[in-house]
């Protein structure tokens, strides 16, 4: 039950791979040509976003970098259309309920915010509410010297602001971006910035970035508030940072409808290390669409651990671009799809330089017949990426009749001196393992629970911070216990 396309030294996809590297300054998107007619639904969203930003409570003139982002994104939106199941990237992921909703831009948090951001496992906390950085809910007091965290309007001019501009320009030139990326840019009320200067270490106590969706509607009301959190992370040469990205609804909002549409851009400088944990626990009726776009300079390390359990529709678009040789990239993700939930990871790792090392592990559990998990993981080993060592593994656990997964692990290898492996497995619980428990006196229900939990434990164990690991583990135990058929 596995699908494979690895090991062959050359694939015809090589020609198109070039385009990724040096994008022309003028935007050229083949996809856009095909559907250059504007999509009225998309235009309507664009207009609403523009209107809301001009009347927002903090409508002080946006800093030039943010304004430029909004303008470029609005421009780009003109030629975008809403994806359908006919479009390859959304072949298995149905976004039609968004399209059928009345989409309303979240208006941004008011002054008297509930203290939901209290209690964090780390002294470094950046709170972003409906896309706006909220300093009063954040804690920056013990950041290491030189580290900048906050909204772009508070970023010091000079190298920090310049780097942010650079990163945004690179994102603008990124050919892989889609409608949701552009909606984010057009509607971003703020720009959260994390800047770690060269040589600085911030690993033992991570920076927790808490994205909260506050404005929401009742299920069934057909209104859907959208927020567009945007974040730029720059980690300079030799620096090391641990970031824990959390996505939550406001307290007591479970079952509420909203749409969080976020984009995070990360630059990992030469020899730098980024340990990125991403925990998605949105309300069970929310839509969560997120981009992570990471560029890795030579000899850098990027580790991403994703645990997604929330939202009705959760889509993670992950793009990692290798900018120099000797990079290390480790990606682990774990999804639990329960009643009416779809979890989708679309990842792409592009290796253009020698001696890259990468590992990807994707695991998902679908517990209900209406649950659905999608994985499309592409690893591209281009011509100059000799001596690359790339591995990819996906495992799915289907616990109900008619539970569905669509997995498409794929390696495209153009270089000829590489070590690559991948595999996919889909299963029910192992009978032999279940029996082992029972033979030791543990009843089958307890055994099943333990085995289901243990399936995800492999990814969970990689979360680098114990308090967060414990919190996430107990959340997962509760979820699995609550939704027993």
């Amino acid at each position: 039950m596995s699908s494979c396309c690895c090991g062959s030294p050359s694939l015809p996809a090589s020609a198109s791979s070039r385009r990724l590297r040096r994008a022309p300054a003028v935007k050229f998107r083949p996809a856009a040509v095909r559907c250059s007619l504007s999509d009225p639904f998309v235009l309507e969203i664009a207009e609403k976003l523009e209107d809301s930003l001009s009347v927002a409570p903090r409508a002080a003139p946006a800093p030039p970098s943010l304004q430029r982002l909004r303008d470029a994104s609005s421009q780009s939106l003109l030629s975008r259309s809403w994806p359908s199941l006919k479009d390859e990237p959304f072949r298995f992921t149905d976004t039609s309920f968004l399209r059928q909703s009345r989409i309303l831009p979240a208006s941004g948090p008011s002054i008297d915010l509930p203290p939901f951001a209290a209690g964090s496992a780390s002294p470094h906390l950046l709170a972003v509410v409906d896309g706006l950085v909220v300093p009063s809910l954040s804690r920056f007091s013990s950041l290491p010297q030189g580290v900048c965290v906050g909204g772009v309007s508070d970023a010091p001019s000079g190298p920090v602001s310049e780097r942010v501009l650079e990163v945004l320009a690179l994102g603008d030139a990124f050919q892989g971006r889609d409608l949701f990326w552009d909606i984010n840019g057009a509607g971003a009320p703020d720009l959260a910035v994390v800047y770690v200067p060269s040589g600085v270490r911030m690993v033992e106590e991570p920076l927790v970035v808490r994205f909260v969706s506050l404005e929401s509607a009742d299920a069934g009301s057909n209104s859907l508030f959208v927020s567009n959190p945007r974040m730029v992370v720059v980690v300079e040469k030799g620096a090391e940072v641990a970031i824990v990205e959390e996505h939550l609804g406001a307290e007591g909002s479970d079952g509420k409808c909203y749409w969080a549409n976020s984009v995070m851009e990360i630059v990992v400088g030469e020899g730098a290390k980024v340990f990125h944990s991403y925990v998605q626990q949105q309300s069970s009726n929310a839509a969560h669409i997120k981009w992570t776009f990471t560029r890795q300079e030579s000899s850098s390390t990027y580790e991403l651990i994703e645990i997604s359990t929330g939202a009705r529709l959760s889509r993670h678009n992950l793009h990692i671009q290798q900018m120099g040789p000797d990079t290390t990239t480790e990606l682990s993700s774990f999804h639990i799809s329960q009643t009416n939930q779809t979890h989708d990871l679309h990842s792409k790792l592009v290796l253009d330089h020698p001696r890259g090392y990468s590992r990807q592990l994707h695991k998902c559990i679908v517990t209900h017949s209406s649950g659905h998990s999608v994985f499309d993981g592409n690893i591209k080993v281009n011509r100059y990426a000799q001596q690359t060592d790339a591995g990819q593994l996906t495992r799915s656990l289907l616990l109900a009749p008619r539970a569905t997964v669509n997995v498409k692990p794929n390696l495209q290898i153009i270089a000829d001196d590489v070590k690559c492996s991948h595999g996919a497995a889909i299963s029910d619980l192992e009978e032999d393992q279940l029996f082992y428990f029972r033979a030791r006196g543990i009843d089958s229900e307890t055994a099943r629970d333990a085995l289901i939990f243990s399936f995800g434990a492999e990814v969970l164990a990689r979360l680098p911070f114990e308090p967060i690991r414990k919190k996430v583990a107990s959340h997962i135990r509760d979820l699995l216990a609550a939704k027993k058929p």
Partner: protein, 332 residues
């Protein structure tokens, strides 16, 4: 290439209820009833001694395979130790293929006895032990199994464990994501719960576990590793014995506990097993080698062939086996 997969309907495995139908026909050459040796009265007095004692009265050859089951004479021997396990005409098939593997097994184990089963590869030794603990791969098609006076075949695998039956697997499975100590504690507390006793907290449990660890000479670092994951063959076996020590079973079935063990490990494991033996509990071990029998002295040795026990005797049977191989046995 994409793949879309839907889950199959969740499978459930059920053991068929004990059937009272007569056992199917036996292969030519096998005794009509292969029942176990009746112990002699004289044995019972020495049984209070440690089982490792060298000079234990042994059943005579003449006593082998003479009784048919159901003669009713057993209960009459009131001063012999209680029967722990009584297997009568047990037949079983592979659940999926219905291929017959056990073809009429008869075996009686009393408290304090050590039994060994030897036999060619594929003769059904592991299947027999797995059927006893209720493995869903097999379906019992005939015969009965009484354990401590109760019908074992009516019980779920976990109930069999709670009743005091333990089997160490020939090839224990790996359970990634579940730590050894969590597993042990789960198993231990399940039994406590069943007995109506309060569960032990992790700290109390560790206190209970510590001496057991030393008994099997196991490094505590194995507690934090996932169950059997990446364990060497010998480490897995040692881990099975640790589980046995924690669960304090009345009847321990040890399926090739000696395979893959180095000399030191074999001694450790044998010492641990001997340490667990009391006049009240028993061991059924499956082995290919006499070496283990030098460490854990058996009261009886059974030879299994083609799904049934074809011969029962004392340690001399193992000696004969070592010299002449199975051909001599089946020819006898």
């Amino acid at each position: 290439m994409a793949m879309a997969v839907r889950a199959p309907l969740v499978r459930t495995f059920l053991l068929s209820p004990t059937s009272s139908s007569p056992s199917p026909s036996r292969p030519l050459g096998a005794p009509a009833t292969c029942s176990v040796v009746r112990t002699r009265r004289g044995i019972s007095s020495s049984r209070r001694l440690p089982l490792r004692a060298n000079c234990r009265p042994l059943p005579t050859r003449a006593a082998v395979a003479v009784d048919s089951p159901g003669t009713g004479s057993r209960e009459a021997e009131s001063d012999s130790p209680n029967v722990l396990l009584e297997v009568t005409d047990l037949t079983a098939v592979v659940a999926e293929s219905k291929q017959e593997v056990l073809r009429g097994i008869n075996l009686t184990i009393r408290e304090g006895e050590v039994h060994a089963i030897m036999g060619k590869n594929g003769s059904g030794k592991s299947t027999f032990s797995k059927v006893l603990v209720g493995h869903p791969d097999y379906e019992v098609t005939g015969g009965s199994v009484i354990f401590k006076g109760e019908n074992l075949l009516d019980m779920d695998p976990e109930e069999r464990s709670h009743a005091g039956l333990f089997m160490s697997f020939q090839s224990p499975v790996e359970i990634p994501g579940v730590s050894n100590i969590d597993f042990l504690q789960m198993a231990f507390n399940s039994r406590r719960k069943k007995q109506g006793l309060p569960e032990l907290s992790p700290i109390e449990f560790f206190g209970f576990l510590d001496p057991k660890l030393s008994a099997v000479n196991m490094d505590p670092k194995f507690l934090n590793r996932n169950v059997n994951e990446g364990f060497s063959g010998g480490e897995k076996k040692r881990n099975e014995i640790l589980q046995l020590a924690v669960l304090e079973a009345d009847l321990a079935i040890l399926d090739e506990i000696d395979s893959g063990l180095d000399v030191d490990a074999l001694q450790d494991v044998a010492k641990a097993v001997n340490g667990l033996l009391t006049p009240k509990n028993s061991v059924l071990m499956i082995t290919h080698y006499r070496r283990l029998l030098d460490y854990i002295k058996p009261t009886f040795i059974h030879i299994m062939d083609y799904g049934s026990i074809i011969k029962t005797g004392d340690i001399s049977l193992a000696e004969q086996l070592e010299k002449q191989g199975y051909r001599a046995i089946s020819a006898a």
